[in-house]
């Protein structure tokens, strides 16, 4: 099974296609000029310095980080018990509840944005951090539920039964046996929830306010006004962070399994 030269050419073009816009962003961000251009005569980090001095982008980054942390934690708090019931117990309505908990994945983010905008306006919460956290929690919870479910189904249930038969209460058996064994699922579910919250744009663009804007929305609003090397510097910083994150995630969990929802690698 070897790929022929045609296949390898196709593959090279494909990878080039995927890399092209990202490379372009990083090149433009290194320009020494004050307008959009490739760094033909001299590279400079001046736009990275400008980015650090830009209070709007820094505030948006802080909002995004705080929002991602809160939404991922909230999603896990809901997912850890719910996924346990779905993965380990037989009860009427189990499938319906499971489908309901996954349903945010099926609703376009545009529709969620519209619905949340109206809801939070009526509730008088529009533009606040709490409304963003609630909205993001619901949107990222399915990822947490999915990875927690595969963590619970991937472990041997007799370990918990053994703890129970040795006299541990249900709570002790869960916190001392099951949960520690599910830690890879807890961590990967949390990370997937955080990443999806951090990247979310379509829904958040409806909910953000001038004083409470996430980084992707800030970048979008900036591009709508003007495309300059500054926004390229902010974007390439995100690309570099994504590459670092990718290497770490792949080392720990296997990126393909995380993204296809198969749960972390089995330890062998």
């Amino acid at each position: 099974m070897k790929n022929g030269p045609l296949a390898l050419w196709f593959h090279a073009l494909f990878i080039g296609f995927l890399a092209l816009p990202l490379v372009m962003v990083m090149l433009v961000s290194l320009t020494a000029k004050s307008y959009l251009s490739l760094p033909n005569d001299g590279m400079s980090l001046r736009w990275y310095a400008a980015m650090l001095d830009n209070p709007q982008f820094i505030a948006a980054l802080k909002t995004s980080l705080l929002l991602g942390l809160s939404a991922a934690c909230a999603a896990q708090l809901l997912a850890i018990p719910a996924a346990y019931a779905l993965a380990r117990m037989q009860f009427r309505g189990r499938q319906a509840i499971g489908a309901f908990l996954m349903s945010p994945l099926l609703i376009p983010h545009l529709v969620l944005g519209v619905a949340f905008l109206q809801f939070f306006s009526q509730a008088g919460m529009r533009g606040g951090l709490l409304s963003l956290v609630l909205a993001h929690t619901v949107v990222v919870a399915p990822y947490a539920v999915r990875l927690m479910m595969s963590a619970y189904t991937g472990m041997d249930p007799s370990l918990e039964r053994a703890a129970r038969s040795l006299g541990a209460s249900a709570w002790t058996a869960f916190t001392r046996v099951t949960l520690p064994l599910a830690i890879p699922g807890v961590v990967s579910g949390w990370l997937m929830a955080f990443i999806h919250s951090f990247d979310e744009t379509t829904m958040t663009v409806f909910l953000a306010s001038p004083s409470m804007t996430t980084l992707p929305v800030r970048i979008y609003l900036h591009i709508e006004e003007t495309v300059d090397p500054l926004v390229a510097a902010v974007s390439s910083t995100l690309i570099i962070l994504a590459v670092v994150l990718m290497v770490i995630l792949d080392k720990w969990f296997g990126l393909d399994r995380l993204l296809t929802g198969g749960g972390p690698k089995d330890e062998q």
Binding site: M1, A7, F10, H11, F14, I15, F17, L18, A19, L20, P21, L22, V23, M24, V25, V28, L36, L77, L78, P81, A82, M89, F91, I97, F100, L101, P104, L106, I107, P108, H109, L110, V111, L112, V114, A115, Q118, F119, L134, A135, T137, V138, D199, T201, T202, V205, F206, L215, Y220, I223, V227, V231, S235, L238, A242, M246, D250, L255, D256, T260
Partner: protein, 282 residues
């Protein structure tokens, strides 16, 4: 051990409560608002839906959105299926490295990737510069605000989903089948067409449904690359809400998009299950 129904309910309860209030509530409210008359008008009305369906302007926007989504899906299938297969045939460690390279863009925010395309496709980008340098065109050209530009950028954003879907269906595929086909004298093309394709069709179609649904409802990419001239349903909904402040009409636009989207996704999934039941059984 007797299973009491309150136990699973207590465990799933917090999640259900949050979902009911923060998900079902807002979606229901949106449906209500799309059926409401103007400010202070009581009663239920289909006026906003009638306005959309009776206006050629909105028909054009819906048609453009779904044609765009179909083209994006077709291109993704055309390049994503072979790429997944070539990845599958690679040896370790290349296979792992390149799978990572294909999946990595998913970790980069969509606005960032779209900004890259705005730079590549714009009048000062490499495409325009190359064409000018070769003397093919005299003036700088721009693919911004064109359908091709939006399709290229959306394919870039969404093709990893298709590659993953095909990749995971290839994981269940026995490589010995390929060797058997080769030993029986099948050419590469014949093997791909008659052995591989039938095996990956369910995965490819599942991925295609995801790609279609995401491109029909994409916002940031059509907004940045397509601009105001090339409106799609998502960008006009945004405009009705935050520009024209016509929330009832905006809600109706979003509800229609949701309904069409659900019909297409459910219809396609039914079709796949019916037609390819034999592949799932094996």
């Amino acid at each position: 051990m007797r299973r009491l129904p309150w136990k699973p309910l207590a465990l799933t309860g917090p999640a259900l409560l949050v979902y009911l209030v923060v998900l079902a509530g807002p979606v229901f409210l949106m449906l209500l608002l799309s059926l409401q008359g103007g400010k202070g008008v009581a009663g239920v009305t289909l006026a906003h839906y009638a306005e959309i369906l009776g206006d050629g302007y909105f028909w054009e926007i819906y048609a453009r959105t779904f044609v765009m989504a179909l083209v994006v899906t077709a291109v993704c299938l055309l390049i994503g299926v072979p790429e997944a297969y070539f990845l599958y045939r690679m040896r370790a460690p290349w296979r792992g490295y390149f799978l990572l390279a294909v999946l990595a863009p998913l970790l980069v925010a969509v606005v960032v990737r779209t900004l890259g395309w705005a730079l590549v496709l714009g009048p000062t980008g490499p495409i325009s510069n190359t064409l000018v340098a070769l003397g093919i065109v005299q003036q700088p050209v721009s693919l911004l605000q064109t359908m091709s530009g939006v399709v290229i950028a959306l394919v870039h954003v969404l093709v990893p989903f298709l590659v993953i879907a095909v990749w995971s269906s290839l994981q269940r595929f026995d490589p010995d089948t390929l060797r058997a086909a080769a030993s029986l004298g099948g050419t590469d093309v014949a093997i791909f067409r008659r052995v591989v394709i039938p095996q990956v069709i369910p995965g490819a179609l599942a991925g295609a449904v995801v790609v279609f649904s995401l491109s029909a409802t994409a916002f940031a990419t059509p907004a940045i690359v397509g601009g105001r001239r090339l409106k799609v349903v998502a960008t006009s909904t945004y405009e009705e809400f935050l520009g024209n402040m016509n929330w009832q009409l905006g809600s109706a636009l979003a509800v229609l998009l949701l309904v069409v989207n659900i019909l297409v996704v459910v219809g396609a999934s039914r079709l796949v299950e019916k037609k390819f039941a034999h592949v799932f059984e094996s």
